[in-house]
């Protein structure tokens, strides 16, 4: 259940990015989650909602974009989808084995959406 640790980090990073204004309300948090990130999407959502219960982020929506796996084949010199998904990393062109993952390990916070009601002081100046 390492998703709990990941959700804790996610909340910490979000808090660190909040503007210095009274009670900013976070509507949505968008993350990019690779197919090969070893993170279970539902567990992460549950961990996030568990940790934010009773906090200002209680109703924040976690938006998760799944990023498909892509591998690099040194023989064909190209990046492509792995034919067998995450269970066997092989080039679709030559069927050669490759452990070189070029996409699909993402675990990134992309953006935070804040509600409009708090006046955005920075944009007024």
């Amino acid at each position: 259940m390492h998703e709990l640790s990941i959700a804790q980090q996610l909340i910490a990073i979000t808090n660190a990015h909040l503007p210095n204004e009274p009670a900013p309300r976070v509507l949505r948090i968008k993350i990019r989650l690779g197919e090969f990130s070893c993170v279970h999407q539902d567990s992460l959502s549950k961990a996030f909602s568990m940790l934010t219960q009773g906090t200002p982020m209680e109703s924040t929506e976690l938006v998760i974009e799944r990023i498909p796996l892509a591998v690099y084949c040194p023989a064909c010199e190209r990046v492509s989808d792995s034919i067998h998904g995450v269970q066997s990393l092989r080039c679709p062109k030559c069927d050669g084995a490759t452990g070189d993952i070029r996409q699909g390990q993402e675990l990134e916070l992309e953006w935070i959406e804040l509600a409009s009601e708090a006046p955005d002081k920075s944009s007024r100046t």
Binding site: F36, G99, L109
Partner: protein, 226 residues
């Protein structure tokens, strides 16, 4: 006013990654070769680590270990029998080790004079995968009793491992261990993985393993101080 979007674009485990990176560079500067041992519970990590510590001490190296478990200091006590300094991390429920947990233990180890530091992760094939601990070598252990399809079931760990140690090879025949299928499965997840088949009980394959560790440390050190 419209809702506002704050672009962040950051890795969620950035804090861990940054600390791990700075620890790795510190280890390399001090000439400490660090490995992170990951496997399911009961694959024989502690037994193999104990003989590894003994042998490297016998070969004249200064070694140390940090071992992670949910509870008890049993593994640290077992490893300390080798004579090496050992620190136990009790995670109290946390399923993996993180870089800051390792960092806290470093002050208790004679790092400046150490040649090898071994980190025995919490027994788990999934959760430790995402956490860089500053190691130069990640080792996945797979015992012959676990079945040859483990690399396919847990591809994340096997893909990120430099070495796969197939342990308890003395039980291979009893378990109808399919060697070819295992090697093929490892290859299909990480063709570059270096594979050793060992038995702590009979000693099979251990010399090759110890020699490899020594050689890896020598190469790592030559690259760092070139």
């Amino acid at each position: 006013m419209e809702p506002r979007i704050l672009e962040v674009r950051t890795k969620i485990l950035k804090k861990n990654d940054e600390l791990a990176r700075s620890m790795r560079s510190r280890f390399q500067d001090l000439g400490v070769f660090v490995s992170n041992w990951v496997s399911s519970p009961g694959s024989g990590k502690t037994a193999l680590l104990e003989v590894t510590l003994r042998e490297l001490l016998h070969r004249g190296f200064s070694v140390g270990a940090i071992v992670g478990d949910l509870e008890t200091e049993r593994d640290a006590m077992r490893l300390a029998r080798s004579g090496a300094p050992v620190r136990q991390i009790m995670t109290h429920g946390c399923c993996h080790l993180e870089a800051d947990m390792i960092e806290r233990e470093l002050v208790h180890l004679p790092l400046a004079t150490m040649d090898f530091l071994f980190i025995e992760n919490v027994g788990n094939l999934v959760c430790p995968t995402s956490w860089d601990l500053g190691e130069s070598l990640r080792i996945a252990l797979l015992s012959v009793t676990e079945g040859e399809d483990k690399p396919l079931k847990y591809p994340g760990l096997f893909n990120t491992s430099d070495v796969v140690l197939i342990t308890k090879s003395d039980l291979a025949a009893v378990c109808d261990f399919d060697r070819q299928a295992t090697l093929k499965n490892i290859e299909s997840i990480q063709p570059k993985a270096k594979i050793f088949e060992v038995s702590t009980k009979t000693g099979t394959g251990l010399e090759n393993w110890f020699d490899y560790l020594e050689e890896r440390r020598r190469i790592d050190s030559a690259l760092t101080h070139a």
